[in-house]
């Protein structure tokens, strides 16, 4: 369902907002097919990192490499076309459109027909088929006609991921996919993420430690814009410095 995996690297990323340094010398290397969690307290810079990777704003310094290619100067839509998918922490869907129309737009995004203006969209039945397949696989078929804003929060978070998947990404960035979900919904979500094709590289920002530690191969810990720890889940779990950060007893490095 998705493209073959690609690696993603950020090197020496720095981001200043006016006088505030949000990211300081962040370097991450994520291998193709790897599942990496990015954790850290609020304000550590995790979403900023994602925003820079997807091109929503440029870094103050440093570069981003996607599948070996420098994408630092590419606009967001070009990065998406190369195979970079993303979900948002705050659900970003097309609120007044139906679930089906949401998915159709996502499916269309990766299709050469997307710029046609002289034929109705019904002339491209393969788009509809792909949308139906996706809806079927994620169990949203019976909700397909409902405007997306009438869905439950959990269902909306599912659609959020569904849209990102529809463009067959090689690298998928999930920004707190379980945000606001009940434990049962989180479990369902975890299963779905686990079921994603193994070649897809996944970067996951999560506050829910169960999700972060059980779904991923490697964890990077961000604190005040710096990577302070990195390693397999067990190692990170036992790292006293990481514990201190979360308990609030750690101080930022000068």
């Amino acid at each position: 369902m998705t493209g073959g995996g690609a690696g993603i690297r950020v090197e020496g990323l720095v981001k200043d907002f006016g006088g505030l340094r949000a990211l300081e010398d962040v370097t991450l290397r994520v291998e193709p097919g790897e599942r990496r969690a990015i954790i850290g307290p609020n304000g550590a810079g995790k979403t900023t990192l994602f925003n820079i990777i997807t091109g929503i704003f440029p870094p103050t310094a440093g570069r981003i490499l996607f599948d070996g290619r420098d994408i630092t100067d590419l606009p967001p839509h070009r990065r998406a076309q190369l195979g970079l998918g993303r979900t948002f922490q705050i659900t970003t869907l097309f609120p007044k459109l139906s679930v089906r129309d949401n998915v159709l737009l996502a499916v269309q995004a990766a299709d050469p027909a997307r710029f046609t203006l002289h034929r109705r969209v019904e002339a491209y039945p393969h788009l509809f088929r792909q949308a139906e397949e996706l809806l079927e696989r994620w169990g949203l078929r019976d909700r397909a006609a409902a405007p997306v804003r009438f869905l439950s929060h959990g269902e909306q978070r599912q659609v959020e991921i569904l849209l990102a998947l529809a463009i067959r990404p090689k690298v998928l960035l999930l920004d707190e996919p379980a945000a606001g979900l009940s434990p049962a919904e989180t479990a369902t979500l975890a299963d779905l993420i686990r079921g994603l094709p193994r070649e897809t590289t996944i970067l996951l920002i999560e506050h829910d430690m169960d999700v972060a530690f059980t779904l991923t191969d490697r964890i990077s810990v961000l604190h005040y814009g710096r990577v302070v720890a990195e390693g397999p889940p067990d190692a990170v779990r036992r790292d006293p410095h990481v514990a201190a950060i979360y308990l609030g007893t750690a101080t930022p490095k000068a």
Partner: protein, 313 residues
Amino acid sequence: MRRAVGIGLVLGLLLLASPAVLSSYYLGLLTKMLIFALFAMSLDLLLGYTGLPSLGHTAYFGLGAYTTGLLTLRVAQTFWINVLAGIAVPTLVALGFSLLTLRARGTYFLMITLALAQVLWGIAFGWRSFTGGDDGLPGITRPTLAGWSLTGEIPFYYFVLVVFGGCLFLLSIVVRSPLGRALVGIRESEMRMRVLGYNVWAYQYVASILAALFAGAAGILFVYYNGYVGPAYLSVVVSGQVLLMVILGGAGTLLGPALGAGIIVLLENFLSAYTERWLTILGLIYVAVTLFAPRGVLGILRERFPLGRRAPA
């Protein structure tokens, strides 16, 4: 779906049969309604579908009118050249203007579109030798098309009807095309579209050009309708009126704005017989619609009676 087609057929037949039933005066009024319906639909593409609120759309309407008017008056009465030029000029100007306007968003976009239209108004008003200044250009005769003189009320009506029908057909394809659906996506969430891989700017640019093209066409029809063009064609008042037509009828529905145009033209015609204060009433309608019915007539109707759309099997 079948209901919509049914209604469409009935309306179409009514429109075709109108000259048999309507007096010359009312036929002229219906002609005017169709012209503004086209104008409003062109703005709907930009505002209703793409979500770009232009306060200066009349710039293209006026450019179409002035170009065709000037050519007819000063050069020759060759139908095809005058009409093609009348379409080409607003489109070319849009190619340039849109590069500027799309640098702006939201409120800035409102301002820059109004400013650009006002600049054109200033030029039309001030450049007496070329545009006739405040007096405008009277005496523009209707052309002859393939042997048919369009001077008569009835032939001109059918001419306008055919153009309107053709443009409606074209626009309805565009809004239901992949590009048209992408425009709706951009209106709903630009960020989401970008991150899915859509080149948002390119889509907005195309929408801007198309909207200008169809507005120019409406302008050509109007200059032939009136036999006259003046700076008033480029005034903010007209931009405001066509914007109201779109909102009143229902932005993003294509036919809603056509309906809105009909309503406003009728109201203006009817009320102007009783009072000179039409613009005050227009302003009050503006306030009322924006406050109480921002989704417009068709917007509200669609929610009450959803026509639905099933995906092909």
